[in-house]
Structures are given as C-alpha cells and as structure tokens.
Amino acid sequence: MSIVEFRKVTKTFGPVVVLREVDLNIDAGEVVVLIGPSGSGKSTLLRCINALEEINGGDLVVDDISVRSGRSKVRLIRQEAGMVFQQFNLFPQMTALQNVAFGPQRVRGVAKAEAIEQAKALLAKVGLAERGHHYPSELSGGQQQRVAIARALAVKPKLMLFDEPTSALDPELRHEVLRVMRSLAEEGMTMIVVTHEMAFARQVGTRLIFMEDGKISVDGNPAELLANTTNPRLKEFLQHVH
C-alpha cells in the first residue's frame, strides 16, 4: 500500500512551472533517493509531501490524507512525515535535548518528563548522549544535523523526508549523518532522500529517481542504474556528481 501518492501533481511559482503532472507512488519501507540537476524540482517535490508548498493541480495523498484537505489534516500529515533540512534549522534558543523533546510536548501533548526521557534515548541513538545540554551554536554541523534527525524522529513519524542533509557539511562530517540515516533505513523507516551521495544511494537506497525539469525521467533500482543506465542525461549527470 502506498504511503505517498502523487496523482498528476502540478506546482507553479507564479509563471514558473516547477512540477509537471508528476505521478509517483511510494510504498512503506522504501528508501527513495531523489537526484537531478539543480532547479529540477527535487526540494519542491519533497516539500509538497508535507505541504510546506501548496500544490496547484492534481492530488497528493500521504498516509491516506490528501494535502488539500485543510489545515488540521495537513498538520496530521506533517506529524507523519518528519523533515530534515539542508540547513538543520534547529531552534537556537533551546538545547539539543529541548529541541528533541519539543515536538512530542507541543505536538503530541506528551508530558515533559516523558518527552525528556524519550529525547535522551533518541540523542543516544544518534550518538549524542553527551551533548544534550549544548545549544545548537555549540555543536558542529554534523552534530546539529543529527540532533535535527532526532527532533524529527521524536514525533514518531511514519515517513522521513531529507533535503540534501549533508550538503551543508564538511566532507569529514558527512559520514556521521549518513551512518544515522543508514541505521534508520535498516530499521525499516520509509525515507525519501534528496542527495548527491551516490554511495548512500547504491548501498542504502531501494529506489533511485532522476528528476529533470519538473518531471521524473528515470525511476529504478539504484545499483542497476548506477552501474549502467541507458539514459544519456542521467549518465552525464552521474559523471558530474562522482
């Protein structure tokens, strides 16, 4: 059963058409890696799923709820679809622990003590048990991004959306974030990941999607596509990211 279903989704920004009648089904448990040239609509596609962008045409159903069914329903979708941003976007006035405990308290109504306990466990899971009392400004980029992952997981989503989670990081800090993402995938989390990390795509991804100019032009098995694709533009794209 699909957890995300794009039905001829169109998205425009003023006169610019960014998504062109996109059809896409994603099943629970899939780890979809989304690649494509800059400006091809990857971020927009991801942001339509949790309704950070409003679609202009077609329909988009997430966990049986349409993104067009009103504000309160949209909030339910967002609770089921955690998001990790390129720039981390941690809440700067809160410690790492408070960042992670925040969602359960304010979204799910979990009691503070319980939220803190869960947050500690999640920080331990992303390898930051010792960093709970640090503010984001006191953490490295890789640590901040791992806190951001824990923050999203704290709300207990069914689906995780990652928008270039390692692009803002120095190369030597990327692996610690990728390791957390890999273990999340191994636990069976449904994930949609925009990334240029081709090793991650090959080793962790169950599906690779290549976007061009607001459309999905290639959709298949990562290992096969990376080894020998017949699509000339994907071939060229892959030569540039390597």
């Binding site: 909030r75 967002r78 976007n89 006035q93 999203a152």
Partner: protein, 218 residues
C-alpha cells in the same frame, strides 16, 4: 553668579513628586504600548491584506505626526469630536500608549520577520499550528533581538513625557517650570531636572544592559 544648593534642596520634594509622575506615565504608557505594539506588529507581519492595512494606517498616522499634536488632539479635540472627556493624566498615558505602540509595532514586525524562515518551516514541519510556531519558536528568538531597539524606545518615551507640560500634567519638567517661574533660579532648577532625567534613563539603560547580557542574543 553663584550656584545655590539650597534652591535645589528646597525644590527637591516637588521635583521628586514630578519624577514620580513621569515614571508612572512612562510605565503605564509602555505597558500599554507594548500590548498595542505587539498586536499591531504581528498584524503587520502575519495579517492578511486588510488586517495588515489597518495596522499600517495606524503606524503611519502616528509616525507622521508629532506627539505634541497627538496629545493635544486627545485632550482638546476628542471631547469636541466624540464627547470623550479625559483628565490630563489619562491623556498623557494614552498618548504614550498610542505613540510608543506605533514605534514598537515596527520593532516587533521587524524582529519577527528577521528570524530565519527555516525555523518557521521546521516548526510547521513538526505539525505545529502557526500560533504555536510564533509563541514557542519565532517569538523567543525575535524577543531577544527586540531588546536593544525596545530599550531605545523606552528612553524616548520617558523623555517624551516632558511634552505633557502642554496639557498641565505635573510631571518633572512641569514641576521644574513652575518652581523656576517663582524663584527664577534657572541654572539650579534645570540642572536638577536634567540630572533627575539622567538618573531615570541611566537606570533604564542599566536594566536593559543586564537583561541583554542575561539573554543570549540569537
């Protein structure tokens, strides 16, 4: 001419009661001004076209006219126009509320909108309603950024109370003026008045410094 300290000693009780009134008008006016300013500023930042337009008109009206004209209007014109009679003290407090409110609205709007939009998106992406994003995420960050410009406005408003001499409120400047009219000791009286203002604004500055130091500016 020689500086006569006894003049100051004699004038002090009256000047202090004037200073007390100055503080009272300032505090009451700024408490109200903060409420009005937050509401108007958030209307400007997040309201639809109509809501935004109302707040915009208010801010422009107040910023475009001198505070003396505003207090004259409230004290002398409102009774004629709308049969609303107010005593000088009320007119003074309302003037500060209305006047500071407009400037604070711009401070509030600016600092809320200066918060990186990624924070709003991160909050919304967790499934929070917008008002919770404002209260728990953007508000606290914006609030820290507001402290320096708010401090400025507090000091401006405190000094603006001296203009209420025109409607006969017995605040510090008025007290100084009355004593001076009786004893003609301009140097002593206006020195004392100036120093009392400096003590009040200095205290305010000190409080703001401490607050700023305590809060990490984000």
């Amino acid at each position: 001419m020689e500086f006569d300290w006894s003049v100051i000693a004699d004038a002090m009780p009256a000047l202090l009661s004037g200073a007390r009134l100055t503080i009272l008008i300032t505090v009451a006016g700024l408490v109200g001004g903060l409420i009005v300013g937050f509401v108007a500023g958030l209307m400007r930042a997040y309201g639809n076209a109509i809501v935004n337009g109302i707040a915009f008109a208010y801010v422009e009206l107040i910023r475009g006219t001198p505070i003396v004209v505003q207090v004259m209007f409230i004290y002398f014109a409102l009774p004629v126009l709308a049969d609303i009679r107010v005593n000088p003290m009320t007119a003074a407090v309302v003037s500060i509320i209305v006047n500071a409110g407009a400037y604070i609205a711009e401070i509030v709007r600016g600092s809320f909108l200066s918060v990186h939009k990624g924070l709003k998106e991160a909050g919304l992406a967790l499934g929070l309603p917008m008002w919770k994003v404002l209260v728990y995420i953007i508000g606290p960050v914006a609030f820290r950024r507001m402290i320096p410009p708010l401090g400025n406005q507090f000091i401006v408003s405190l000094k603006d109370t001296s203009l209420f001499i025109v409607i006969g409120v017995g605040e510090l400047t008025r007290q100084g003026q009355e004593i001076m009219a009786a004893n003609f000791r301009a140097v002593e009286i206006w020195s004392a008045v100036a120093i009392l203002y400096l003590l009040m604004t200095g205290t305010l500055t000190l409080i703001l410094r401490v607050t700023e130091k305590r809060m990490r500016i984000l």
